[in-house]
Amino acid sequence: MIPAQFEYVAPTTVEDALAALAEGGEDAKVLAGGQSLLPVLRMRLNAPSLVVDLGRIESLRGVRDDGDAIVIGAMTTHSEVFHDPLVNEHATLLVKAIEQLADPQVRHRGTFGGALAHADPAGDLGAPVLAMGATFTIAGAGGSRTVAADDFFQGLLTTVIEDGELLTEVRVPKFTGWGAHYEKFVRVHHQWPIVAVAAAVRTEGGTIAEARVGLTNMGLTPLRARSVEAALAGQPATDEAVRAAAASATEGTHPPSDLNGDADYRRHVATVLTRRAVLAAAGA
């Protein structure tokens, strides 16, 4: 498990990192915690000529309040996000997802931005940020641009981030007072989810006023179950009503088939998990 040789730089500013990436061209890889990249390098599935380690860029770490949203620095570790008071107050769905993400070692090394930029369809953060309508700030040679979550994920392990660009922060709208739940289905705890469902729900009395639902590992990218969201609005937070709404969770999904289950099984599980996630988020 020895990677092929590569050059390594660890800049301390975003500008220096962008400069290093520009110099490295398409053979450069960004190291943002390394929980996915290092195994890839060690198994020689990829052999970049340059690795740009963002681990020393302090400005990319931390969570700040930005009015109607919170802003999470790309290099904030999962563990830091999990413990952050702003996240716990305004974005409980992230807390629920990170609580079940991989194992403690990964949560202490892996980063919020790194995981999202890696864009594994079975990653635990894609569905929550998609459901919450986050926006992504991407820095490049020509300055920064922002991209909506709906447009960020392009395909398998692919996002809108171009060569030479860096994800710097993720802006998550405040979901203060919403209930949230991440329902994850695995055979062993350290496994990638077979299917998972992220749900955030705002209830008024016993009624679901608004709901957001994201699906993990039900296609080449994380997916948002908009038809479920629409069907839930105005419904009572009861098993019966939510069950009916959750039936459409499989619409437009293209889940994979592998040793853990075929696509049809995943579709079925997604409807069950959607119901459970929504009911749990609604406190029902």
Binding site: I2, F153, H190, G219, T221, H254, L259, G261
Partner: protein
């Protein structure tokens, strides 16, 4: 109990070490890793190996171009099978189970043909591991791909040949028949009779292929400098390894020293002589330099031997009241592409165990071993006996279901009663002791069996989406390998004895040398406890040495739950010889008759007086030799080689409760109770540890683990992403109990414990899964019982499909998700 209390304390009456939950001496260094793992060894000028392995399951090697690799930085040499075919030796099969067994020659480096994906085709030796790895990428191998024999059943029909030159995939057919052996009746008669007036159950079960997945990957260092070539290897079998190196390479055995330093687990996976060991030995001799090879986890999963992999066709005959009358077992066993060290014999180790604890009057066992183009199989924790136990314990549940009675009731009706021991079984083994009634009663009590059955009934009646299943496994096994005479009858290539030495140091401290080779079991602690009791010395004053053929020159190593029952008995005998050697010296110094001496608490005393002399003083007296009786040699050091008279038969009752989420097929283990009879317990902490680990490994077979090949012969479950080894997070707290009937075949009264948990737990779990699903008409779920299989069993009557169809992860569509409706990105 009273008998054992007397013998197991030996001649001392002081505080007992045996039975005390001593913390393990070896744990600090093993757990922190600050110890001599093979890969930690650094020698001056040491070279490093990287292997080039075949990506194909079956292919002819048409050309290998090593020129680019040879000219890469710091590469010392690149070896191919062609270049070294005369000197590389071969890997031995030590257990030809039949005289006409078909076995291909197994070269360490493939010479002209590769026979499984992962086989070594070239070897790069360089000054650093990184440079060796880089250069390995530059070796250019041309292959001419051949059809691969992959499916076990198809391979048994010789449709595609794994080794075309052999003309068949069928390696050996091994048969035991109780009528022929004179140990019982004719099974076909019993089955015919049951077809007319009784019950006949015919079932087919799959033992999926597993990977031992020991914690420390295999590693080997060979230093050719000095008079002896020294090999350090992460092996379970340093003594056997030394013998085999000498036997197959032409190097004199006296010129080879093998050291198994601290070894991080094996589970049978390191009971092997490996291509990697032979290659490193060769590379060191060729270069004249120390050479190291440490495998990656990917290599380990792909190319270290696998385990299990059987199809089991079973026919059980019984009378209408559920009394068993016959059992017929017909196995296909997948050897993989070579007949490995004891691989062919693994199913034979199960041959005597399908009848288990039950009084079958007629029994027949057949196994056809089959060559395929997959990684070779060999011992994996339990080796043959988990397969047997699974089959019979699943069948007994089926019989109970057929009769509509409780699965424990049908077992009790058929098992050997405690007053019937010693009992000679239909397979010809004599079970010395056991008490199935007692273990079962205790297990039911701890488990809360009746309450859980009542809860199960309530959930069934209420159509609860979460159903409860209760699984039973009343297992026994044969371990303590093995009486040499029996091994000889089975054509095994070695004996089954074990050796021990006790050295009395001048300061009164004790060195114990054992031929068993611990790789995590805790021998250092348990052996110290035994010697402390036997010789009356302090636990801390005993040092246990093992695993180095220069120190422990004689031994047959560790596997088959043999170390304590065989090696421990050798140790007891060696310690008793020390006492007997000390006796005349003590009598001389005490000016007493030997007949008046008694040995107690580490001292000889003269009966009726307060005169005495301690063992430490006698060690000093022997050391100085100043004042010994005439003709007595000046040493107390003693050794013993012990050949067991019988196997050892631990048993137990395991009860498992699982909750099945019928909406998803998800499974949650609710409760697991194991009451095991492992005879006299030397160290309860070690026994609990062995059981915990063993249980998890057996549960993993039931629920999580499977080595899966795709239809081109590539191992899909080739990393821990897909080969699901459970962790502590995936287990529950087990409720353990004990029921002790000391073995009568060794003086401590011990039985084996290393494999018990693994053997017992798999059927307990699968029986629980099937029990939960009975209301849905389900009678089997194939292992591993994944949520998908469980769900399909409930909703579509499936659950028994093979895993291969989904072997290659894939998406149904090449496109990203439809963005226009429903879920969208």
């Amino acid at each position: 109990m009273t008998v054992t209390d007397e013998v197991s304390t030996g001649s001392t009456g002081g505080p007992r070490e045996v039975g005390s939950a001593r913390r393990r001496k070896e744990d600090q260094r093993l757990i922190t890793g600050r110890t001599k793992w093979t890969d930690n060894i650094q020698l001056p000028g040491m070279l490093h190996i990287a292997m080039v392995r075949s990506p194909f399951a079956h292919a002819r090697i048409t050309h290998i171009d090593t020129s680019a690799a040879k000219s890469a930085p710091n590469v010392v040499t690149v070896l191919t099978g062609q270049e070294v075919s005369e000197e590389q030796g071969v890997l031995a099969n030590a257990w030809p189970i039949t005289p006409d067994q078909v076995a291909p020659v197994h070269p360490p480096i493939a010479v002209d043909r590769v026979t499984f994906a992962g086989e070594v085709v070239a070897v790069v030796v360089a000054r650093s591991a990184a440079e060796a790895r880089d250069a390995a990428e530059l070796v250019d191998v041309d292959y001419d791909e051949l059809p691969a024999a992959l499916d076990l059943k198809e391979a048994a029909e010789d449709k595609v040949l794994a080794h075309p030159d052999l003309g068949t995939n069928k390696s050996a057919l091994w048969v035991f028949d109780s009528a022929e052996a004179g140990t019982g009746g004719a099974v076909d008669e019993a089955i015919d009779k049951a077809r007319t007036d009784g019950i006949v159950l015919e079932r087919e079960y799959r033992q999926q292929r597993l990977i031992p997945a020991f914690m420390e990957p295999r590693s080997v260092v060979v230093d050719p400098t000095g008079e002896q070539i020294t090999m350090w290897s992460a092996t379970q079998i340093p003594h056997i390894l030394r013998y085999l190196l000498a036997a197959t390479t032409g190097v004199s055995e006296s010129k080879i020293r093998v050291i198994a330093p601290d070894v991080g687990g094996g589970f049978g996976g390191k009971l092997q002589s490996t291509p990697e060991e032979w290659i490193t030995f060769l590379a060191a001799r060729r270069t004249g330099r120390p050479v190291k090879y440490t495998e990656t986890r990917s290599e380990s999963l792909m190319a270290a031997h696998h385990g299990r992999d059987q199809w089991q066709r079973l026919t059980l005959a019984a009378t209408k009241d559920g009394t068993v009358t016959g059992l017929k077992v017909d196995l296909l066993a997948d050897l993989g592409s070579y007949v490995s060290l004891v691989g062919g014999g693994v199913p034979v180790l199960g041959a005597f165990m399908f009848n288990a604890i039950y009084k079958f009057p007629a029994y027949q066992f057949k196994v056809q071993t089959v060559l395929t183009n997959k990684a070779w199989t060999d011992a994996y924790r339990g080796a043959g006996r988990p397969e047997a136990t699974f089959a019979i314990e699943r069948l007994m549940d089926e019989l109970a279901h057929e009769l509509g009675v409780d699965p424990l009731e049908i077992r009790e009706k058929n098992w050997i009663k405690h007053e019937e021991f010693p009992f000679t079984t239909v397979a010809g083994l004599e079970y010395d002791t056991g008490n199935y009634e007692q273990a079962t009663a205790e297990a039911k009590r701890i488990f809360g069996y009746d309450e859980l059955r009542a809860e199960q009934q309530r959930r069934r009646e209420a159509n609860d989406p979460v159903q409860l299943g209760i699984g039973v496994s009343t297992f026994t096994e044969m371990c303590g390998l093995a009486p040499s005479r029996v091994l000889g009858q089975l054509s095994y290539g070695a004996g089954g004895w074990e050796h021990a030495s006790v050295r009395m140091l001048p300061t009164g401290k004790v060195e114990v040398i054992t031929g068993a080779s611990a790789h995590g079991q805790g021998h250092e602690t348990a052996w110290s406890q035994i010697v402390a009791d036997r010789l009356g010395v302090a636990f801390e004053d005993v040092e246990v040495l093992h695993g180095d053929t220069q120190i422990s020159h004689k031994g047959l190593d560790t596997y088959g739950s043999r170390s304590l029952v065989v090696g421990g008995e050798a140790l007891v005998k060696a310690a008793d010889k020390v006492i007997e050697k000390a006796r005349p010296i003590a009598a001389h110094l005490l000016e007493a008759s030997v007949d008046d001496l008694e040995f107690k608490d580490g001292s000889f005393g003269v009966r009726g007086t307060d005169k005495g002399i301690a063992m430490a003083d006698l060690a000093a007296a022997a050391f100085t030799g100043h004042n010994l009786p005439d003709g007595v040699e000046p040493t107390l050091d003693s050794d013993a080689t012990y050949d067991p008279v019988n196997f050892s038969y631990p048993h137990g009752t395991h009860l498992c409760a699982v909750e099945i989420d019928t909406e998803t097929g998800g499974l949650t283990m609710r409760k697991y109770t194991a009451v095991d009879d492992v005879g006299t317990i030397v160290n309860p902490l070690i026994v609990e540890g062995q059981l915990h680990g063993g249980l998890v490994q057996g549960i993993a077979q039931a629920l999580f683990e499977e080595a899966v090949y795709d239809d081109s012969g590539t191992l899909v479950s080739a990393s821990f992403v897909d080969y699901l080894v459970p962790t502590a997070a995936d287990t529950i707290s087990f409720d353990l109990g004990t029921s002790v009937t000391p073995s009568t075949t060794n003086s401590l009264g011990t039985k084996g414990v290393g494999e018990a948990g693994t053997i017992a737990s798999t059927p307990a779990v699968v029986n629980a899964v099937v029990d939960a699903l009975r209301p849905f008409g389900v009678s089997d779920v194939r292992m591993p019982c994944t949520p998908e299989r469980i769900w399909k069993a409930i909703h579509t009557g499936g659950g028994t499909e093979p895993t291969e169809k989904d072997a290659m992860p894939h998406f149904d569509e090449n496109d990203v998700a439809d963005r226009t409706d429903g879920a969208s990105a």
